[in-house]
């Protein structure tokens, strides 16, 4: 605090001295030749200067946004490089990069059910997540609306949900295997179970938080139940619903890798396990990056959708 004050005072002092200096010196001579340049040329010069400055500003803005993440990534790779200098099980960044180049040069090859390109594996996992998540949305969102609308239902089911929600989705996998007798539906079942809770809870919360004002409008206008739903309830709940969907997708993508490790078949989780058995550790590292990137893309896409439906309220 006191340091800052001191600095400011010093600066004021400097300016004061400068001002005094300028006052005692003859009026600025460097203004002279500038005035002789034609007005147009001067304007053009100013324009060019502005453009250059704006260009530089744009570059600087880009650098300010992009530089820190690049630095962070560089730091990670640097540490990784240092850690692998003395050999050991973990492959070096260079070796991983070479493996990635080979891997991504043909991501969609197919040589039998257990040897497919990484592209197929990712798509297969996405398909499972899509199906499991889709069914969860079909069940969870209407359930959320019902829970939000009818207090009795909420009182009945909330304790159940509180009990089941903290359970690791993988604990449900054996039940799925038992019921469906096959690995694939069991994995989808696991995704279903883990992605249904955030959608139920967020939708229900959204319904209970619909502003009373809007419902009063509906009452004064005596809107039909259908109109209340389409014009008031649904749009008001949509942002909450989308938050639920975003959380669900995130969890589903986390869980699918683990589920596939246990169930096998084609899929990024199984692929990681397979590469572990083949001791291709560089492929596991690549898979980690791929899983991260896909998760990031899913999240960003849903954020984009959510922004589209957020209303500047009141």
């Amino acid at each position: 605090m006191s340091a800052a004050v001191a600095v400011t005072m010093e600066r004021v002092d400097d300016q004061g001295r400068e001002a005094r200096g300028a006052g005692s010196a003859p009026a600025a001579p460097e203004a002279g030749p500038d005035e002789e340049v034609g007005m147009n040329a001067k304007a053009a010069q100013a324009d060019k200067g502005a453009i250059r400055r704006r260009g530089a500003g744009w570059l600087r803005a880009l650098a300010r946004v992009a530089l820190p993440p690049v630095l962070g990534m560089g730091l990670l790779i640097g540490l990784w490089h240092l850690a692998t200098l003395n050999g050991g099980g973990i492959p070096s960044p260079g070796k991983t990069w070479d493996a990635a180049v080979v891997l991504f040069s043909d991501p969609f090859y197919q040589e039998g059910p257990n040897d497919q390109g990484i592209g197929w594996n990712v798509l297969e996992s996405l398909k499972r997540v899509g199906i499991g998540f889709g069914i969860a949305a079909l069940v969870g969102i209407p359930a959320g609306f019902l829970l939000g609308r009818f207090a009795l239902l909420a009182q009945m089911l909330n304790p159940l949900i509180s009990l089941l929600r903290p359970v690791s989705p993988l604990a449900w996998l054996p039940i799925g295997l038992l019921v469906f007798q096959r690995a694939d539906p069991a994995a989808i079942w696991t995704i279903f179970i883990c992605s249904i809770w955030p959608m139920i809870l967020n939708t229900a919360q959204g319904v209970t938080r619909v502003p009373q004002d809007y419902l009063n409008v509906a009452r004064v206008l005596k809107l039909s139940e259908w109109k209340v739903f389409t014009k008031i309830l649904f749009p008001a709940v949509l942002p909450y619903m989308l938050t639920g969907i975003r959380l669900s997708i995130g969890t589903a993508w986390l869980v699918i890798v683990a589920a596939e490790m246990l169930t096998g078949g084609v899929g990024i989780g199984f692929w990681v396990w397979d590469e572990w058995n083949n001791l291709k550790v560089e492929h596991i590292i690549i898979a980690i990056f791929v899983i991260g990137v896909v998760g990031l893309i899913l999240e960003q896409v849903l954020m984009l959708v959510a922004r589209r439906f957020s209303y500047g309220n009141s």
Binding site: V220, L223, K231, S314
Partner: protein
């Protein structure tokens, strides 16, 4: 004059965690066709509760509420409400907000084109034709309140109920909207009940000012007839003796007879 709303011996109480709480007791009031009535009183006296009772948003604990001779059992479009915080649906344009009300009231009888014409007319009445395709968050607070008024008027209600409609606006916008409201009421011959805490607003806009005593268990303390000629001019009234007397009478009620303990 025909009575539109009759309020007879109405008492409103709530059971709260701290026991039985009487908001209003023994309220008797008739509202006749074409008149403008203001409800004024200190905050918490239950004036909004009384308005909600007329709107049918809440039901009285005892007593009778009639609208056109029939008991008020719930809200209805013949008693249009302009809410304090405009209550426009943010995901609909101004046009669609009004259309929603128009559709409900006239949808069964009129064509799509007629409904749209009605909507446009209502928006034109409040001077918002240029903003009909904007969303509520794109327009100012005063404009939002205008849309709220347009929505209420578009239903051609028997009575217009306004709950501190201009309370959230700045003084200049408020004066502007008050003037426009007076013109609209004169043009449409509408009946209006308005909750306000602004003495000038009450005198300027009303034929009668209903003054409520302090709560709990508030009731009507005095009713002041405002005999001022219409149309009323804000500027001319500033120096009008009768206006001053009305104002003084309300202030006397609020600040002498119903002294409010500092909250």
């Amino acid at each position: 004059m025909k009575k539109i709303v009759q309020i007879e011996n109405v008492t409103q109480s709530f059971d709260t965690r701290n026991g039985h709480f009487v908001v209003l007791r023994d309220v008797r009031l008739d509202i006749v066709e074409g008149e403008s009535v203001s409800l004024i009183g200190h905050s918490g006296c239950g004036k909004s509760t009384l308005l909600n009772l007329i709107a049918g948003l809440t039901r009285p604990s005892s007593g009778v509420m009639l609208c056109d001779g029939r008991e008020i059992t719930g809200p209805g479009p013949e008693r249009a409400v302009v809410f304090q915080n405009h209550s426009l649906l943010p995901w609909l344009t101004c046009f669609d907000n009004v259309l929603l009300a128009v559709e409900r009231v006239f949808g069964a009888r009129e064509s799509r084109a007629q409904l749209k014409t009605r909507t446009r007319e209502a928006l034109a009445l409040v001077g918002l034709t240029h903003a009909e395709h904007k969303h509520p968050h794109e327009i100012s607070g005063g404009m939002k309140q205008r849309v709220g008024i347009a929505r209420a008027l578009s239903m051609q209600p028997r009575i217009l109920l306004m709950d501190e409609p201009f309370g959230a606006l700045d003084a200049l916008t408020r004066a502007n909207l008050q003037d426009e409201l007076m013109k609209i009421l004169a043009a449409t011959q509408a009946t209006m009940v308005m909750v306000t805490h602004d003495v000038d607003e009450a005198v300027l806009l009303s034929d009668r000012v209903v003054m409520l005593t302090n709560g709990p268990a508030a009731t009507i303390g005095e009713i002041l007839e405002i005999g001022l000629e219409r149309p009323r001019e804000r500027l001319a009234l500033a120096h009008d003796a009768q206006f001053g007397e009305c104002r003084a009478a309300i202030m006397e009620f609020l600040y002498q007879k119903q002294v409010r303990a500092a909250a």
